[in-house]
């Protein structure tokens, strides 16, 4: 296995064997350990000293399904801390099957120079001039790349937001249909890519030399066992294929925790119109796809294809978090508008979550009215056009709050929150506050524990312990490249045993009960916390905005009540 290092300053590409200190790592574990070791914590995130690391999980490219996840890591221009942003699509499998453990962008191209990185079916990397692609939006860009290199091509790309180095800029990832609708959205890593002068990473999907498995026969047997646990999981087998993550609109509203109107209410009146159930029915009626395979190696099919009234493609993979940020937070209760906003963000190259929260803060400041669909569409278009307001919106919710003098900014460490209000789901507040990533929807998501009745979302007991357990587990599964949905099915002791048998067969050594996810997850989180500490973060950064402690959230009319000492104990290892 090898690491491909691309220096944008010198245009030199060098290939090195994976050093001992990075062995048995992939995904988030590799990006975070590498960033912690090789990036000066105090550096300018948009400068030459930052790295941008692309790493498939250490199981990506193997025969284990649901391992098509890619980690992208760097110092974040949004949070100022370490960032791992995770994307589905086709790139992770493509990179892994070329025998590449990571692609590392170093240095910085001269101002105004743009190129793209091509990796052919032999795993050979070359930098190609990309000046003619300047300003291109993602859909047109990917279409050009597929026309030039063929349909068996995975594309990671930035749009105008990334080129403009906006802190909400995403890196889009093409799905199995060649649409750039999957995203490494969080943390503004598209801006890092833009600052390096790289427009796209174009990878041949026909590689045939993945990282070898130490014991192929035992591995195959363990893969079957793990597949059995995923098939037996009701969410993976029944709910996700039929409703996708949008199926969460109903339960989270029903529990009064759906942050609406810039987190002023916990239920969006009329949420049924933008629910997963309504989405599935609409797509069935129009000839869209409520069930769709978006990522390589997927057996869950939680993706969808949204079409308009004429049956024309609008966007793919319309997710719960986007429906919330562009619907709940803005008060827009129209799936067609939300789908257009999703398409716009994917095309411009923007994190839908951070953008929706930024727009909501502007609406809350009186710039326009909540529920004004046309105004919200215009605001996101302004980001694409790079107007003055557009640049403020594209800089994220904190910048918008500062601009309008509005202190009600639902963000932690500069990153907009996710679709679970900490006042009605206390454990999410613990994760938002303490995750080294800032407020995050996958770092330690407790909604499953609430719905199964394992934990009461309004009582303090168990919130810190559960957040800690899930944060550690997700750090480990993100390192493996395992999709979040499948990971949830593997959290039981029996499934964990099967997964460790698979790891033992992969690496040719025994994985004991605490080795995965515990030991690995803690190692990753320790590295992330270490980077943030050296970048100047303190305990005071592990807190929620004041309004969560002071302003009761209807309908439960509760506030966030986990104390600072308890928060500080969450990742105290």
């Amino acid at each position: 296995m090898k690491i491909v290092r691309v220096d944008l300053s010198t245009k030199k590409i060098r290939v090195e064997a994976v050093p001992e200190r990075y062995r048995e790592l992939g995904g988030r574990g590799l990006t975070s350990l590498m960033v912690n070791e090789e990036v000066p914590p105090g550096c300018d995130a948009l400068g030459r000293e930052n790295l941008l690391v692309f790493a498939p999980g250490f199981l990506s490219g193997t025969s284990l399904p649901n391992t098509g996840r890619l980690s992208v890591g760097a110092k974040s221009p949004l949070t100022g801390g370490i960032k791992e942003s995770n994307a589905g699509g086709t790139a992770a499998t493509a990179i892994a099957r070329l025998g590449i453990t990571a692609i590392v962008l170093e240095g910085q191209a001269p101002e105004g120079e743009l190129s793209f990185l091509r990796i052919d079916r032999n795993g050979e990397a070359s930098l190609e001039p990309g000046g003619e692609l300047a300003g291109e939006r993602n859909y047109a860009l990917v279409e050009k790349m597929l026309a030039r290199y063929g349909p068996k091509t995975a594309v990671l790309s930035i749009g105008p937001a990334g080129e403009s180095r906006l802190p909400s800029a995403s890196i889009q990832s093409s799905d199995v249909d060649g649409h750039p609708c999957r995203a490494a959205g969080r943390g503004g890593l598209g801006a890092v890519m833009g600052a390096k002068g790289l427009k796209a990473l174009v990878v041949d999907q026909r590689g045939g030399s993945p990282d070898p498995v130490a014991d192929p026969q035992t591995f195959r047997k363990a893969v079957k066992e793990v597949i059995g646990f995923i098939k037996a999981d009701h969410m993976c087998a029944e709910v996700m294929p039929k409703l996708g993550t949008a199926g969460l609109v109903a339960p989270v509203n029903s529990m009064g925790a759906f942050p609406s109107y810039n987190a002023r209410q916990g239920v969006l009146p009329g949420w049924e119109a933008i629910s997963g159930e309504a989405l599935a029915e609409l797509l069935q009626k129009r000839g869209g796809q409520p069930t769709h395979t978006g990522c390589s190696q997927c057996m869950i099919h939680c993706s969808n294809v949204f079409v308009d009234e004429q049956g024309r493609y609008v966007t793919g993979s319309l997710e719960y978090e986007t429906i919330w940020s562009m619907g709940g937070m803005t008060g827009v209760r129209d799936l067609d508008t939300i789908a257009r906003l999703d398409r716009l963000c994917d095309d411009i190259g923007l994190d839908t979550m951070n953008t929706g929260v930024a727009v909501a803060v502007a609406l809350d400041s009186g710039y326009r009215s909540f529920g004004d669909a046309r105004a919200v569409l215009e605001m996101v278009e302004e980001i694409g056009r790079g107007t003055e307001l557009g640049r403020i919106l594209g800089s994220g919710p904190v910048a918008v709050g500062r601009h309008f003098g509005n202190p009600r900014v639902p963000a932690v460490k500069g990153q907009g929150v996710a679709a679970y209000d900490p006042r009605a789901m206390l454990g999410h507040g613990v994760t938002f506050a303490t995750s080294p990533m800032g407020a995050d929807h996958t770092a330690g998501n407790l909604v499953g524990a609430y719905l199964t009745g394992a934990l009461d979302p309004l009582k303090k007991e168990g919130q810190v312990d559960t957040s800690r357990f899930l944060q550690i587990a997700m750090a480990a599964f993100d390192t493996a490249g395992q999709c979040f949905m499948a990971s949830v099915a593997l959290l039981s002791p029996e499934a964990g045993e099967a997964f460790r048998r698979l790891l033992s067969a992969k690496f040719g050594r025994e994985f004991g009960p605490d080795s995965f996810p515990g030991e690995l997850g803690r190692r990753v989180l320790r590295a992330e916390k270490d980077f943030n500490r050296r970048a100047g973060f303190s305990k005071e950064d592990d807190r929620l905005p004041r309004f969560y402690y002071e302003e009761p959230l209807p309908p439960h009319n509760t506030v966030f009540s986990i104390g600072d000492e308890e928060l500080d104990s969450t990742l105290d290892f």
Binding site: M235, A250, S254, E277, T442, L446, D456, V488
Partner: protein, 79 residues
Amino acid sequence: MTVKVRFFGTLGGRYPGCRKGQSLPVEVPSGATVQDLLAALKLEHEPGIVALVDGRVVGRSDPLPEEVQVTLLQAMAGG
């Protein structure tokens, strides 16, 4: 007594007219529990069923008050 039930997840499709959360009136004996309601709907063996009353998850042995509205859906994890 009559319990009004709203179905979400993939449950609504099983009850005509209830796909998008429209209420279905269900007759259960006075003092019935959540489990009794699920049995009346033939959902007692369905995996992952969650019952909510007034925005709170309720247990299978919890009694149902008169005139209550119950939301039934399926457990999911977030992300």
